[in-house]
């Protein structure tokens, strides 16, 4: 297949369709709307299900119902809409039905704005929905990665009967880049045994997230946790740049990660031995990779478009072995490579203290408006 120039939003939509999406449910919200609009054209054209729901609450529960039939289903939204979906996501996790969710993050909290941000990391990676639940979270940084990870998302969702979130920020949704779409996969014909079907095979199937008897609920939780161990063992993904001889490591995901790549190259051009680790699976998090790096490098710089959410996971992995610094921009403001380069130099030239919290040091450096 030849390369095509696509916006991240439409690339994800078309990739999902090519991956055999049976049903899409969504509600308009910027900067994700092109995805829904693409679906509104393509899905009916292909004779597949498309519903513009009355709300994100409606959308996620339509997905819940559709997922119970064992079909390939997805929804997409942006931050405020994702907040509304949390209840449904928890039910879906508790019922162990597969689904794909795309979150095109924007500035917040609250109504915020429609500019790119990464401030839903904690909500998505560390829960949001109630109960012990572990969505698989994939964070592409380019249109091609968005396509590939969307296709992968459906496979992982089905393999682990899990929620898989493709987490991008508004800029990747709006950006155009060449990408190669997969060929059109046929729709699934076999449905998993657990799926409700109203069939006459003599089996009655029920799907629910209620386990009134606590020991039964505990058994369910144990099953979910053991399955999550499997995910942690098999599904860690990340990309390394210039790490072979690096003495310092910059790390960031999605757009912040690719912006950092420019900064790392600029630093390399000045002879600074720095590399980049860009986590692709945010959940499971490449904890061991970071732990291993912390044995041989001198320091880490975490860069995000939030107030240091992935930072906590990096710090847990580094476990105090080496200094960690943080640089973030928030509220829809994007860091430029020269800002990150400045931070790299500060880290390399100065002594980064092991005491205190990197977030506090970062806040100290940020301007005070009031």
């Amino acid at each position: 297949m030849a390369k095509e120039m696509m916006k991240g939003n439409t690339a994800i939509a078309e990739a999902a369709i090519r991956a055999g999406l049976d049903a899409y449910f969504g509600y308009p919200i910027t900067p994700q709307t092109e995805l829904l609009e693409w679906m509104s054209v393509r899905m009916p054209e292909l004779g597949r299900a498309f519903v513009q729901a009355e709300s994100e609450l409606g959308a996620i529960n339509m997905v819940y119902g559709a997922a119970c039939t064992g079909k390939r289903v997805m929804t997409s939204s942006s931050s405020p809409g994702i907040s509304l979906m949390m209840e449904g996501l928890s039910y879906i996790a508790g019922t162990e039905v597969p689904m794909v969710l795309v979150n095109v993050m924007r500035g917040g909290p609250g109504l915020g704005n429609i500019a790119p941000a990464q401030a839903d990391y904690n909500q998505i990676v560390h829960g949001g929905g109630h109960g012990d639940m572990h969505p698989i979270v994939l964070a592409p940084a380019s249109v091609q990665e968005a396509i590939d990870l969307t296709v992968l998302a459906f496979d992982l969702a089905e393999k682990y009967r899990a929620i898989v979130v493709v987490l991008i920020d508004g800029s990747l949704g709006q950006m155009m880049e060449p990408g190669e779409l997969p060929p059109m996969a046929p729709l699934k014909t076999a449905i998993p045994d657990w799926a409700v079907r109203g069939g006459d095979d003599g089996k009655r199937r029920t799907l629910s997230s209620i386990y009134l008897n606590p020991p039964d609920e505990e058994v369910t939780n144990l099953r979910l946790e053991r399955r999550w161990q499997e995910v942690q063992a098999n599904e860690v993904r990340y990309k390394e740049y210039y790490l072979e001889d690096a003495r310092y490591v910059v790390t960031g995901f999605g757009s912040a990660g690719r912006i950092a790549l420019s900064a790392v190259r600029a630093a390399r051009a000045e002879g600074i031995p720095v590399g980049l680790l860009r986590p692709i699976s945010l959940n499971p998090f490449p904890r061991q990779v970071i732990a291993d790096l912390s044995e041989r490098v001198e320091g880490f710089l975490v860069t995000e478009m939030n107030a240091g959410q992935m930072l906590d996971d990096v710090m847990a992995a580094v476990a105090g072995r080496k200094p960690v610094e943080f640089y973030g921009r928030m509220g829809g403001v994007v860091p430029f490579p020269d800002e990150i380069l400045g931070e790299i130099k500060r880290m390399v030239n100065g002594q980064v203290p092991m005491s205190g919290h990197p977030r506090d040091r970062w806040l100290e450096r940020m301007p005070r408006a009031n």
Binding site: M5, I114, A115, M176, P337
Partner: protein, 180 residues
């Protein structure tokens, strides 16, 4: 090798499309490329800009602060981007829409009365193509042929008859003198 270009002007001046053409042309030449629009509240206010990065390796930041080149199609864009073009870079100015010269001595400046040229060619919508021609003459980040091909592939059916005019507009722009 990486080249960064910003195109800025009012909405409706073909700013985003000119950027997309560059991107399509770069893809045509098998280069890595990103195109990113400004989006958000400013969209409604009427100003528009986009950043295009063309490279021969995986592109890092699609966001650009100090581009190697900028096309500014109106005065607010000149005011904003004149100072931001990297030293030694190129600034293409649509003099039809600005009332002052560019002050930077350390960059190549191409001043083009693009609205007038487009009108003389008989179609005001060619303004962006005139300026794009002016840019490519100084900074051949993609070939005119590739742009031509991109145009052919991405102009809507009903505008295909405008292909020769687009080409002529680019050439007019390319023949404008530059101040180094």
């Amino acid at each position: 090798m990486q080249t960064e270009i910003i195109i800025a002007g009012f909405g409706g001046q073909g700013v985003l499309f000119a950027g997309q053409l560059l991107a399509y042309a770069a893809m045509e030449e098998d280069k890595a490329v990103t195109w990113i629009p400004s989006y958000g509240p400013e969209m409604r206010g009427g100003t528009a800009n986009c950043a295009v990065v063309v490279a021969d390796e995986e592109i890092g930041s699609p966001f650009v602060k100090h581009p190697q080149a900028a096309i500014v199609m109106n005065l607010p864009s000149l005011d904003k981007y004149e100072a931001l073009v990297a030293p030694g870079g190129v600034l293409v100015v649509n003099t039809s829409m600005v009332d002052r010269p560019c002050q930077r001595p350390d960059i190549t400046v191409v001043e083009i009365p693009a609205n007038e040229i487009a009108e003389r060619l008989g179609d005001r919508r060619m303004t962006n193509m005139v300026l794009l021609g002016g840019l490519l003459a100084q900074l051949p980040v993609v070939s005119m042929e590739a742009v031509d091909k991109a145009l052919k592939e991405h102009l809507p059916e009903r505008h295909q008859k405008l292909l020769p005019l687009n080409r002529q507009a680019m050439q007019e722009g390319a023949s404008q003198p530059a101040r180094v």
